[in-house]
């Protein structure tokens, strides 16, 4: 996949949004602390991945180095 491709970024964003949503909905029904921690991790990682996808839309010259 080419992260510079807007269609690929769009597809990735859609997947990340639904992963986040699935974990959030599961969190509404789960009380076990261990499972909740893993679901919360999924939400956090999906948010971090979304930030990486957004950064890949930034022109290379504007991206933080190296």
């Amino acid at each position: 996949m080419n992260a510079d491709d807007p269609l690929a970024r769009h597809a990735l964003n859609n997947l990340l949004g639904k992963m986040m949503g699935a974990a959030e909905l599961a969190l509404m029904d789960v009380e076990a602390p261990g499972v909740r921690a893993e679901l919360e991790l999924i939400v956090r990682l999906a948010k971090e991945a979304a930030l990486l996808v957004a950064a890949s839309a930034t022109p290379r010259s504007d991206r933080p180095g190296p």
Binding site: P6, N13, N14, G17, K18, E24, A50, A57
Partner: protein, 130 residues
């Protein structure tokens, strides 16, 4: 009082997730998979708020927003988009120009969605009471 919400998106997984989250928050939510179906639902019963995607088959979101603001100017609109060939921000800027009250770029968390929906309905309630 239960607030009525219409959610329009052609992504059925996301549609189900948004419906589940907003229904669990106590909203009376209905769903449509494109702008045409959404407008048909609005004509059968007006809604306090519409959450609409931008890029959809049949009637896409920007056209849907224009139509909603013409026929139901008091209905609040939250536009959501992940963009396509352009950045989502470009579509969402257009959505604001055309009458959307707020925008939310994809991907978003369901808690963010809920926060935006509650904020818009709170503002609408304050205006109605003024």
């Amino acid at each position: 009082m239960t607030r009525n919400i219409l959610i329009v998106d052609d992504d059925t997984d996301l549609l189900r997730q948004m419906w589940t989250a907003l229904s669990r928050e106590g909203f009376n939510a209905v769903v449509a998979c494109d702008g045409d179906a959404g407008l048909r639902l609005l004509r059968s019963r007006t809604r306090d708020l519409v959450v609409t995607d931008i890029i959809m088959p049949n009637r896409e979101g920007l056209e849907t927003i224009i139509q909603i603001k013409q026929e139901w100017p008091d209905t609040k609109i939250l536009a959501i988009s992940g963009g396509m060939r352009t950045a989502p921000a470009e579509f969402l800027k257009l959505a604001l120009l055309l009458g959307a009250d707020e925008v939310l770029p994809k991907p978003f968390s369901l808690s963010e969605l809920s926060m935006h929906v509650k904020g818009l309905l709170r503002d609408a309630g304050e205006v109605a009471q003024a």
